[in-house]
Symmetry: none
Subunit: 248 residues, 2 copies
């Protein structure tokens, strides 16, 4: 189970935090690290020092340009966030997240991404809106910003506890094919198709969006669509487009 949990760091500025993250991950038995557009050289003397013997995790990390690329195969994407900004999003606690993990990762194809933002500014709204849910580590409201590696430590610790407490640790079961959850990429393609169709039927004006797509994203991600369900929804969009095109 733990090998299918990916830690994603976006726009990290300090190599020491990448090293500290690697140590926290290896301490808790996690190994899959992705770096999105790091704002520093990931592997420096500082990285190795803070990793304290876990720098192989940084060597093995995948470095990519966008969040999309880092989570394209993930069935659950959770962003670490102090609070939801413009639009409230499903918020869960680290413990509630951990309790969900054994079921989330029951299928051998399932992948969970835990996404952490920049040291100074966290995750952008666009990034937050690509997540199924946001996880908030409870903190002192007067001093709420955790060190990046410390935040990874807390969530990785919760992941390990969930794994230790799971009944049959490490025997992924096969999910029947028609119940497989849609991947991040399939969801994004659906959202593109949806937006196109809403423009076609005159419901949505991208020039004055009024958070329409964000609201539809939030609603849809909350439902955790299965692949077959997404196929139905895309079928509806295609039928709608054909109706409009036939007449225009």
């Amino acid at each position: 189970m733990l090998e299918r949990i990916r830690i994603v760091l976006i726009g990290t500025s300090h190599p020491g935090n990448i090293g500290g993250t690697a140590r926290a991950m290896h301490n808790m038995g996690l190994s899959d690290l992705a770096l999105v557009a790091p704002r520093c050289e990931p592997l420096t003397a500082d990285t190795v020092s803070r990793a304290s013997g876990a720098d192989h995790i940084v060597h093995d990390a995948r470095t990519v340009e966008t969040l999309e690329q880092a989570v394209t195969d993930c069935t659950l994407v959770v962003g670490a966030s102090a609070r939801s900004r413009t639009l409230p999003w499903p918020m869960i606690t680290p413990r509630a997240l951990a309790e969900r993990l054994p079921a989330e990762l029951a299928s051998s194809e399932a992948r969970v991404a835990l996404v952490f933002g920049r040291e100074d500014s966290g995750l952008s709204n666009a990034e937050l809106q690509r997540c199924h849910a946001h996880v908030n580590i409870p903190t002192n409201p007067d001093f709420s910003s955790l060190n990046l590696a410390a935040a990874v430590q807390v969530l990785a610790y919760e992941c390990r506890l969930a794994w230790l407490e799971a009944p049959h640790a490490d025997v992924p079961s096969e999910t029947p094919a028609d119940q497989a959850l849609a991947s991040h990429q399939e969801l994004e393609r659906y959202f593109e198709h949806l937006e196109r169709t809403l423009v076609t039927i005159g419901f949505h004006d991208p020039a004055t969006p009024k958070q329409l797509m964000a609201r539809l994203r939030r609603f849809t991600l909350r439902a955790r669509p299965e692949r077959t369900e997404l196929n139905i929804l895309r079928g509806i969009l295609t039928a709608t487009e054909q109706q409009v095109e036939r007449h225009d």
Copy 2:
């Protein structure tokens, strides 16, 4: 309750770890730090940098020569330890410790000390044997040594959760009106509208339904739609119908 939990660091070598400990403590609402025979200057530029705004905790820390002096007023002393050495000692998990804290700290005179050892060699047997119990953070057996500040972070996080879950913690606020969930009746009207529209666009034939509506129901109900979300979805249906009617 949190103000009566003391973090005790014994023989710390790296000022950065003292700073990281201060930040982790302040993040979680702890404030009482004691340093026993530190093996470094506690307050350096490294301390301030890693404390990231929480260095007042180090300024206010008491520095003493022995563990005895640091915990003399404490009613419960718990040592962080990878394992009991010569003599097996009561071992508890961080979570079990946290669950005990509200009762342990019910009296205003009660004090709990969480004791952390040296970066290289942990706590001595003599120190461990001065503790009521030992707390062990579950780790990867192949790489079990946590960074000192990371270990403090995990236990401080558990302390905060215990405090938040204790009976007198602040109650979460009410749900804003625009987040009210849709009623059963509103949902049923939506499903009627959806089915009508799907027939209109030629996607759905009620004579050979193939569980289409059941699948769309299951998907939608799983998301627990809010009233405002349902209004958006009905707006999309209406726009679709108008497109088709305009042309037929």
